[in-house]
């Protein structure tokens, strides 16, 4: 293991280890609209980085370029020593170790919770059914849904669905999890259960990149907060620094709006 001892409750990247994800000069255009205008970002092992910014600022696009759900136009992404953006990269192999959680859960409606969690275990990792189901049940237990293994998504609340989606990502034992507004589609009373799972993940040392506006969670758990506007990183720093003493005027304006 290449774990570097955590410095404990610190709020800067000194709490984390070596860089596992390096983004440099990343650009993405849709037609003539440039959404990402050169992003440089480095995420360390065990780090939890929050990305905030106005809607349309490119946060989600950035996340989706990291595992190439969107094809970056220029620039490079290197993950765990492998250049994601290189031509010959085995994307399917790479994506196993980069979990992703979506705003709208995206559970497979025709499968049970267990079916959702075990699909990739069986088809990608080629685990036999019994082993996949054991791993799947463990992953569901890890998000507090051991008793919902055989429920269909339509029988679960939004919070439960999102936790199944997290279990689906975690079952593959990823090295990083990308969260794309994981609580934005949830009723307020259901947000807590999802954040509790993320908090536990953080405690276990998972590297996480989170696009979200959950301020309180950011303050409590984020090692670093990155503010993106108009396709560029405007400012980054500890949650405390960004939320209480932002330097840039755009950050100030956005944070003021969030706090309201």
């Amino acid at each position: 293991m290449r774990l570097i001892p955590s410095a404990g409750g610190g709020c800067n990247s000194d709490a984390a280890g070596m860089a596992i994800l390096v983004v440099s000069g990343l650009r993405k255009s849709f037609g003539s609209t440039e959404v990402l205008k050169g992003i440089d970002l480095s995420i360390a092992e065990r780090e939890l980085v929050f990305i905030i910014g106005p809607s349309g600022s490119g946060k989600s696009t950035l996340l989706r370029c990291l595992n190439r759900l969107e094809e970056p136009s220029r620039g490079s992404v290197t993950f765990d020593g492998v250049e994601v953006t290189a031509r010959g990269t085995d994307l399917n192999a790479l994506r196993r170790s980069m979990g992703m959680v979506f705003q709208s859960f995206n559970l497979y409606p025709h499968m049970t919770a267990l079916g959702n969690v075990t699909l990739a275990l069986r088809r990608v990792l080629k685990k036999p059914r019994s082993e996949a189901e054991a791993l799947g049940r463990r992953a569901l237990a890890g998000v507090g849904l051991a008793d919902k293994a055989l429920s269909y998504p339509s029988e679960l609340s939004g919070g439960q669905q999102q936790r199944v989606a997290i279990a689906r990502a975690l079952a593959l034992d990823p090295k990083i999890v990308l969260f794309d507004e994981p609580t934005s589609a949830l009723d307020p009373e259901l947000v807590g259960s999802v954040l509790a799972v993320m908090r536990e993940l953080k405690r276990r040392g998972m590297t996480m990149l989170v696009v979200s506006h959950e301020l309180r969670f950011a303050r409590e758990a984020a090692d670093r907060v990155v503010f993106i506007d108009d396709g560029r990183i405007v400012e980054e720093g500890s949650a405390e620094a960004i939320f209480t003493a932002p330097r840039e005027s755009r950050t100030k304006a956005f944070v003021a709006q969030l706090m309201r």
Binding site: R64, L69, R95, M100, F102, L107, A120, R168
Partner: protein, 227 residues
């Protein structure tokens, strides 16, 4: 002879029924065979074409779309006559049973392709993304995540279309396939009596009412709540 007697003698003459029920039964058997073969081939081919189309290879898609549009536009009877009476001119002699099976299968495949394709395109983009983000390939995502949903979406329109196509087995009568209508019209011209035709009509109803009922059951069974 009263009008009622004349009516019964024309449509329900007992000795006619006794004489011709074996040939009508034979026709039922042939109809069921062709219908089953058409449903199996047509649906499978339609699913295959829709799946191929999902890969969005330009050249193949053009061919698929042309095939689909032609076979949806062409009356099946025209295709049957063209193949049965035209192909021997270039040295290809296909048995009438095969011609009927082929044409109806292709027509069903054309409609089924459109229905499955509509199901594939209306499956949410997030389903693809979720599956691909766990390392599933395009083909695996299509097979395990998208097609099961597309097929369910397609069941109600497919049920209707399948019933419509299987009824078209009656077109086989024009090229001498010994299905229900062919047996009934043959018997009618021998006997000069409409009773065999009525028997044929009853045979169709007895055959297809259960299919329609099962179709309705399938529709409700598959109309599941989307998350």
């Amino acid at each position: 002879m009263t009008n009622w007697q004349r009516f019964v003698d024309t449509f329900f003459k007992p000795e006619m029924m006794r004489q011709y029920w074996p040939s009508i039964a034979q026709g039922v058997l042939v109809t069921v065979e062709i219908a089953a073969a058409v449903v199996a081939t047509g649906l499978l081919l339609g699913l295959l074409l829709a799946s191929l189309r999902a890969y969005r290879w330009q050249a193949i898609n053009v061919v698929i779309v042309i095939f689909v549009d032609v076979f949806r536009a062409l009356p099946p009877l025209v295709a049957i006559l063209l193949i049965y009476f035209g192909l021997p001119g270039v040295g290809v002699n296909l048995p009438s049973f095969i011609v009927l099976w082929l044409v109806l299968s292709l027509v069903l495949a054309a409609f089924a392709e459109e229905i499955f394709w509509a199901g594939i395109t209306s499956t949410a983009k997030g389903q693809w993304e979720a599956a691909r983000s766990t390392g599933l390939s395009f083909s695996e995502t299509l097979a395990f995540v998208v097609l099961p949903q597309a097929i369910r979406l397609g069941v109600p329109p497919l049920t209707n279309r399948t019933i419509a196509i299987t009824k078209n087995t009656a077109l086989g009568t024009v090229i001498g396939v010994g299905e229900i209508l062919n047996q009934a019209t043959a018997a009618q011209s021998f006997s000069g009596n409409a009773t065999p035709l009525m028997m044929g009509a009853i045979a169709y109803v007895l055959l297809f009412v259960p299919v329609v009922v099962v179709g309705r059951w399938i529709e409700t069974r598959f109309a599941w709540r989307r998350a």
